[in-house]
């Protein structure tokens, strides 16, 4: 990734990551989780802000910390780290709102040439998976590390 990203911390299994967003709103701690689903090797990627007082996670808050590119690049980096340790994993992600899903799609589009070298990337459209393509509106995304 050519774009700047935040430094990452994680627990040993690399299923939960933490990084600190820095911007005009100050420092905001963010947690990324690769959550186990009902299907083996299929994980739900989600991230949100950690409340500094309660430690509770909120994935619907809009931080407006003027660093969305850097945050997205950092989250993509967690996918690299996670799938390096769990190479068979499918990683599923969707936004909490349509506009946020659109934001993720734009981010993936931006890094598509790099991500496409290492991952099979799919978009969900009208209940079907198709190969991710630029300019198509998707409901969700799915990635699996290419195993050469």
């Amino acid at each position: 990734m050519k774009l700047e990203r935040y430094e990452l911390k994680a627990e040993k299994s690399l299923m939960v990551f933490e990084f600190v967003s820095e911007g005009p709103k100050g420092e905001i701690s963010k947690l990324v989780q690769f959550g186990e689903t009902n299907l083996k090797d299929f994980y739900n990627l989600a991230f949100g802000d950690k409340d500094p007082v309660t430690g509770e996670i909120n994935d619907s808050v809009v931080s407006n910390n003027n660093d969305s590119d850097k945050v997205l690049a950092t989250v993509i980096a967690t996918v690299y780290a996670f799938t390096d340790k769990h190479p068979e994993a499918w990683v599923y992600a969707t936004g909490s709102t349509r506009s946020r899903t659109r934001l993720y799609r734009m981010g993936l589009t931006k890094y598509l040439s790099e991500i496409g070298e290492d991952f099979d990337l799919y978009g969900q459209k009208e209940g079907e998976w198709e190969n991710f393509e630029k300019g198509v509106e998707y409901e969700a995304f799915l990635a699996q590390r290419k195993n050469d």
Binding site: M1, K2, R5, E7, L8, K9, A10, E11, K12, S13, L14, M15, V16, F17, E18, L31, Q33, G35, T37, N38, L39, F42, N44, A46, G48, I57, D59, A77, T78, Y80, A81, D84, W90, Y92, T94, S96, E114, D118, D120, Y122, Q124, G127, E128, W129, E130, A140, L142
Partner: protein, 59 residues
């Protein structure tokens, strides 16, 4: 020396595979469902849509 190490970490962090510092304080989150709505959505998608069709192998 410390400055050199910090610079090295920053350089390494530019590679696709990031440098990740292990922090045991994050262990407490590992078995918690932090994003229940999204996890439910993922499980629902698995029931209705499932996985993509396998890619055809070129011989």
């Amino acid at each position: 020396m410390i400055k050199f190490v910090i610079m090295k970490v920053k350089e390494l962090n530019k590679s696709k595979l990031p440098v990740v510092r292990i922090d045991n304080s994050l262990e407490k989150y590992k078995d918690k469902v932090l994003f229940k709505d999204k996890l439910d959505k993922a499980n629902e998608m698995l029931k209705t849509t499932g996985l993509p069709k396998p890619k055809k192998q070129h011989s």
